[in-house]
């Protein structure tokens, strides 16, 4: 029966933590069950190996502290350098993009108008005079109040002459 096997007892907690009564159960069962005997042997060897492994520790060397502080300084210096480099790269990118923009503007200003097609006389008139034909016809009688009539102009001119 699976319940009678002791492997679960070996895996539930460290072998060293098992009580005498539990160990007695394990030993008794391992005496009659070859599978559990192998498992018990392996568990004991594992426990021994882990004890030896845990006992092996290293102590820091006398220079460890100096090494750490030196590495810290190095890293800080490299961080500062890389920050400056990043700044310089960013500035360089900005300057070059500005130069490109200026060059593009210069091209648009000086070179581009020469390539524009010559406009015809009619087109020129229509560009200068933005009024449409309808506007001219309908607004003919609508003379602004502040505009001087022909007679007023003549009167002004002659009055000035007689005044002299």
């Amino acid at each position: 029966m699976r319940d009678e096997h002791i492997t679960h007892m070996l895996e539930n907690m460290p072998l060293a933590s098992l009580g005498e009564s539990e160990l007695a159960v394990i030993r008794t069962h391992a005496g009659v069950c070859p599978d559990c005997r192998r498992a018990y042997e392996a568990a004991r060897v594992s426990a021994l190996l882990l004890r030896e492994r845990a006992a092996e520790t290293f102590e820091p060397s006398p220079f460890f502290q100096t090494r750490v502080t030196a590495t810290l300084r190095e890293r800080q210096a490299s961080t500062e350098t890389s920050a400056l480099r990043r700044l310089w790269q960013a500035t360089g990118a900005l300057v070059s993009s500005m130069a490109v923009t200026v060059a593009a503007l210069a091209l648009l200003t000086f070179i581009n108008p020469a390539h524009q097609p010559q406009a015809g006389p009619g087109q020129a008139v229509s560009t200068v005079n933005s009024y449409s034909a309808e506007e001219v016809i309908f607004d003919r009688n609508n003379v602004p109040d502040d505009e001087m009539s022909y007679g007023q102009v003549l009167t002004t001119l002659y009055d000035e002459d007689t005044g002299r």
């Binding site: 060293a16 498992a39 060897v45 882990l50 004890r51 492994r53 006992a55 290293f58 102590e59 820091p60």
Partner: protein
């Protein structure tokens, strides 16, 4: 001291390194067999601690805070390293093979081992552990190797106590299976040798 180091006082930081490095080394030794790796991990721990000093609020102990950083750093290093494939008898050194033989013959008496044999055993343990996950290595070394309570493992890893228990249960099973396999192969090889003579 932590406050001064946080403000950039290098002497205060050097004092932290001096005071806590033995503890960090002992803890990192659980994960690595080579001294150079332990030293590298410990250095990384202190450099990380320096950058994270702002997050240390002084509520818990500095030792506990550094232990947590050590655990995470070592687990990360192990996770990024390639895990060894299964350890087979043919991978064992002659000393390791002899050690296993002696354990098979003398498993009941557990006689005191010489220092040299202890080193062989520690090395073999390390090689078996290397085939397991970093988490398994941690729980086995702490709980089974050092008798650390489940609560302590939970505290340094940030896991729940039940997770630690489950992890330890599974890790123990894997370790036992790996060792059982080695012992089984050794036994059958020895029997073959005897019958050949």
């Amino acid at each position: 001291m932590a406050h001064d180091a946080r403000e950039g006082d290098e002497d205060a930081f050097a004092e932290i390194v001096r005071r806590y490095s033995p503890r960090v080394f002992r803890f990192a030794s659980r994960f690595f067999r080579q001294r150079s790796l332990v030293e590298e991990a410990a250095q990384e721990v202190f450099l990380k601690a320096f950058t994270q000093l702002g997050s240390y609020e002084g509520r818990g102990s500095m030792e506990g805070w550094l232990t947590r950083i050590t655990t995470n750093t070592c687990l990360n290093i192990l996770r990024s390293a390639k895990r060894r494939p299964e350890l087979t008898v043919s991978d064992l050194t002659e000393d390791e093979s002899t050690w296993l033989d002696s354990k098979l013959a003398d498993v009941a008496t557990e006689r005191h081992q010489s220092q040299e044999r202890s080193l062989v055993a520690a090395d073999l343990a390390g090689r078996v552990l290397e085939t397991m996950s970093p988490e398994d290595q941690l729980v086995l070394t702490m709980i089974d190797g050092e008798d650390a309570p489940v609560k302590e493992v939970a505290s340094v890893t940030g896991w729940s106590e039940s997770k630690v228990k489950v992890q330890a249960f599974r890790a123990r099973r894997k370790m036992r299976a790996a060792v059982e396999k080695l012992l089984g192969v050794k036994k059958s090889q020895d029997q073959n040798l005897k019958s050949a003579r």
